[in-house]
């Protein structure tokens, strides 16, 4: 059953150089208990998508389209109504733990805050639950006393606090924006296991935003590849990896340091995707990837390629997708 549905979401923002389109018609559905991965380079709109769902877009941004959650269009709700949902029904693990945490409040108070505000728990009860949550995310007592301040924790430990805050009120949808980027692989595995457990127990839907394709491969059932504000490839995770139809998806995999299981020979360099994501103000008319694409042909230039179906549920926005042969 669809819990959250984004329909043709467009986000524009006024900039000194004129209006910029940050999201250009993003659509997808998320069902209860589903684990959806979102990948793409820096600046392609992953966090904007998340912030639009949370009702936390920058003040200068305008959103069009629909974000339907439990039958309501979140884009049409006022701030009071959103406050009832945010942190309670839809929670988010923010990308930068340093900015998500309040430096002058203890970690215990920050985890307890949502419990008091949304669940109406008293001070003592909220603190007891907060301590349990800290333990759950791998910050056990007495080492990680609720009286600690964020600056007294390592980068990875702060990220765990942010996760505890997001899980506090048992949300129906959990948006995790790069939740493990700051963590080593063993801590990453712990956190991903934890997210898998809580989402399975409570049939929580998970939107997992990451730039690590291997994390998407191992932890999600379906995935979106985003580029310059658009979804360029989508499908079950297995189907997308099997074919990697969009040239951009293949470029992302080739550039991953994990893609090599050996050190580079001296003098060799890692593969990169040439060029960079075009600024929202300077997007080309045709396929947004054309300037960096080795398969680009004249027909890619007049207009953006429409999404087309490859096989059941696997879709790609490219005129010359790779076939089923394996990536070189």
């Amino acid at each position: 059953m669809t819990l959250l549905s984004l329909q043709d979401l467009r986000v524009t923002i006024a900039t000194p150089e004129g209006p910029a389109t940050l999201l250009d018609g993003v659509s997808f559905d998320l069902a209860a208990g589903e684990q959806l991965g979102i990948v793409g380079e820096s600046g392609c709109g992953k966090s904007m998508t998340a912030l639009a769902v949370m009702g936390l877009l920058p003040a200068a941004a305008r959103a069009e389209g629909h974000v339907i959650f439990e039958g309501k269009n979140l884009l049409a709700l006022d701030e009071d109504a959103l406050c009832q949902i945010r942190g309670r029904r839809i929670a988010m693990v923010f990308q930068e733990p340093m900015t998500a945490l309040n430096p002058v409040k203890t970690i215990g108070d920050q985890v307890a805050e949502g419990l008091r505000w949304h669940m109406g728990l008293g001070r003592g009860e909220a603190e007891t639950r907060a301590v349990k949550l800290l333990d759950r995310v791998g910050l056990p007592q007495p080492r990680f006393a609720p009286g600690l301040y964020p600056h007294q924790l390592s980068g990875g430990q702060r990220q765990r606090v942010v996760i505890a805050i997001a899980l506090a009120c048992d949300p129906a949808v959990l948006i995790a924006d790069e939740p493990t980027t700051a963590l080593d692989v063993t801590s990453q595995a712990e956190i991903l296991d934890l997210l898998a457990d809580v989402t399975a127990e409570a049939r929580m839907a998970l939107m997992l935003i990451t730039h690590d394709l291997a994390v998407v491969w191992q932890n999600t059932a379906s995935m979106l590849v985003m580029y310059a504000g658009c979804v360029v490839e989508r499908g079950t995770t297995a189907a997308v990896f099997e074919r990697m139809a969009h040239p951009y998806t293949r470029g992302l995999l080739a550039a991953s340091p994990h893609a090599l299981d050996r050190a580079l020979p001296a003098g060799r360099r890692l593969a990169t995707i040439p060029g960079r994501v075009p600024d929202p103000q300077h997007r080309p008319q045709g396929c947004v990837f054309a300037g960096r694409c080795s398969r680009a042909a004249p027909d890619c230039l007049p207009g953006p390629p429409a999404e087309r179906a490859l096989e059941d549920g696997h879709r790609v926005a490219c005129l010359h997708p790779h076939g089923a042969e394996l990536p070189a």
Partner: protein
């Protein structure tokens, strides 16, 4: 290339121990302390690149800060170019700082948004070297911008006009301006997406070949380390549990924690997790 432990060292860390005070449990009781570094020994020869990897909370950032004398250890020594950094008077420490610069993890937070990047890049120069003429200052800014693949006129732009990867290049340019011998980089690529990560790692390799820099390269990501380091030290709970040449640690890890770390690297194509998929 591993230099013998007795030769001249750029950096030598001996018995480095660092305790942090924790919140008091009772008002009058002494504050409990947490040992973040426990008798760490490391050495780094000129031109060599040493990576420090390890679990979150194992003390990597604490080590980086203490090596650059941004934190005072509870015990132990840090010797840079033969000088004990904690025994130096402030002027001596300043002189030494020119030879060792830091690149911080966060490419978004480490640049002042209100300053043109030329100002930010020249900051270590302005703070640590005196008598630099305006013309030389300008030339040095242009030189380091060029080293990291940016243009001299980029000095006139503000941080928000650059992408994450470019900002990390700016942070590296800033670290290069005093012509250091050693760069301590704390997770310099972990906030970057894969394609930008590859660009910045390639830049680290280029600079090392061209300028003969040494790196103390902190990362939680073994795959990253493999491409930039000669040796790797694996930390856990404030201690170095294993150290050796990168390939030997990767191919024949001895400590169970290193083995666990290597086994936990997620890879495309390896079995999916128990809860994923349907």
């Amino acid at each position: 290339m591993t230099a013998g432990e007795t030769g001249p060292m750029l950096l030598r860390v001996e018995g480095l121990t660092l305790d942090y005070p924790l919140p008091r449990e009772r008002l009058l009781a002494p504050a409990p302390r947490f040992r973040a570094l426990n008798a760490v020994n490391l050495h780094l020869a000129k031109g060599e690149s040493l990576a420090v990897v390890g679990e979150s909370g194992s003390g990597k950032s604490s080590l980086a800060r203490t090596v650059l004398a941004l934190e005072r250890p509870t015990a132990g020594r840090v010797e840079m170019m033969g000088q004990d950094v904690f025994a130096l008077p402030p002027a001596g420490l300043r002189a030494l700082r020119r030879h060792a610069q830091m690149v911080f993890q966060d490419p978004y937070g480490s640049l002042d948004p209100r300053r043109k990047i030329g100002w930010t890049i020249a900051e270590p120069l302005d703070a640590l070297e005196s008598g630099v003429s305006a013309a030389e200052r300008k030339a040095r800014i242009a030189e380091v911008l060029d080293s990291v693949g940016l243009k001299p006129r980029d000095a006139e732009r503000f941080p928000h006009e650059f992408s994450g990867g470019q900002r990390q290049r700016i942070a590296i340019a800033r670290a290069l301006i005093t012509h250091p011998d050693l760069i301590v980089a704390d997770e310099p690529v972990s906030a970057l997406d894969v394609s930008v990560q590859a660009q910045v790692l390639n830049l680290f390799m280029d600079l090392r070949e061209r300028l003969g820099l040494s790196y103390l390269f902190i990362s939680h990501d073994l795959a990253v380390v493999r491409h930039v380091a000669d040796r790797v030290a694996v930390m856990r709970h404030g201690e170095v549990v294993e150290e050796g040449g990168v390939e030997s640690v990767f191919n024949a890890p001895r400590h169970p924690y290193t083995q666990a770390l290597l086994a936990a690297v997620p890879r495309v194509g390896m079995p999916r997790r128990r809860n994923a998929g349907s």
